[in-house]
Symmetry: C2
Subunit: 178 residues, 2 copies
């Protein structure tokens, strides 16, 4: 899977959750539409009057998550950039999302500010499969962080207790990997 | 609407986004099931091995959001409490959510830790209506924060330009409120 394909899943999901950090350092989250995916960039917008806008300007780190009807979940952790040519991007976003014209008729669209996420890390989870499948992908200059667990060969007794214990059957003998 | 009814909407939503803050002070978000709603408390669980668990222990402030198929969106901003009697709550959660037994068979369920949110503020948005409707509700000891905008009577010229400008027709003359 490419980063662009992974981002496209978020574009097809109507309710994508966008998390930011507020002035107190606490998490905030709301549902927003993904407006455009282009060249490994995700575009969204928010109104200047909203807390979310102030939070993004003060602390541009952002995390988003969405799941489609096939239980494919995508998480993106990255940085939101305020775009330079606002008029161009807002008009472009409205052209790609015609229903926005009903919500913000005429000139009122320019109360919105457009942002893009072009760097960070993407995680794809296929929760519709058993066992689940996951994949991590970089976005732009971002590097996927290695989290989760590893078996350290130097200290492993090869007893297999971990394999018995794993509820996801994620642990296999070398050579028997799926 | 009561807080309990508002929380029940989150229970019916399969993909609820839970946002936390990580050790760097950045937002993180993932989709989790709401396991139980009872006496104005929302219960969920996560595995001890996950970053989310570490984040909650270090910084228990949490924000969650979900939207149902009727475009009713609920946001909850509050504090997650690690529950005292873990065995009781995990067993209770598995009894209320039988499909969890397939994911975590036998004793493996006790790798999970149960939390509840019993204080914070709830926001309900009915995005399926035009114009939209919203309501703020306290949860437990929490107090809804007053955000958004107010017209200061002492400084208002009664010109009505704001009403003309509002794309949501949210501004009405006194006495003509919906």
């Amino acid at each position: 899977m490419t980063s662009q394909q992974c981002l496209q899943i978020l574009r097809t999901v109507k309710d994508v959750a966008f998390a930011s950090v507020d002035a107190q350092g606490d998490p905030q989250v709301r549902i927003i539409d993904v407006m455009l995916i282009e060249e490994d960039r995700l575009y969204f917008c928010t109104a200047r009057g909203k807390d979310f806008y102030q939070q993004l300007i003060a602390h541009p780190r952002i995390a988003i998550v969405g799941m489609n009807k096939d239980f494919q979940m995508v998480r993106l952790s990255g940085e939101a950039s305020h775009l330079d040519d606002q008029k161009y991007w807002i008009d472009r976003i409205f052209a790609e999302n015609p229903s926005m014209c009903d919500v913000y008729p005429g000139d009122s669209r320019h109360i919105l500010e457009a942002f893009c996420i072009n760097t960070g890390e993407l995680s794809f989870f296929d929760l519709g499969r058993s066992p689940i499948e996951r994949e991590q992908l970089p976005l732009g200059d971002g590097t996927p962080s290695l989290n989760g667990f590893v078996i350290q060969d130097a200290h492993c007794l090869h007893c297999g207790l971990c394999r018995e214990r794993c509820p996801m059957q994620a642990i296999k003998k070398r050579g028997e990997e799926r």
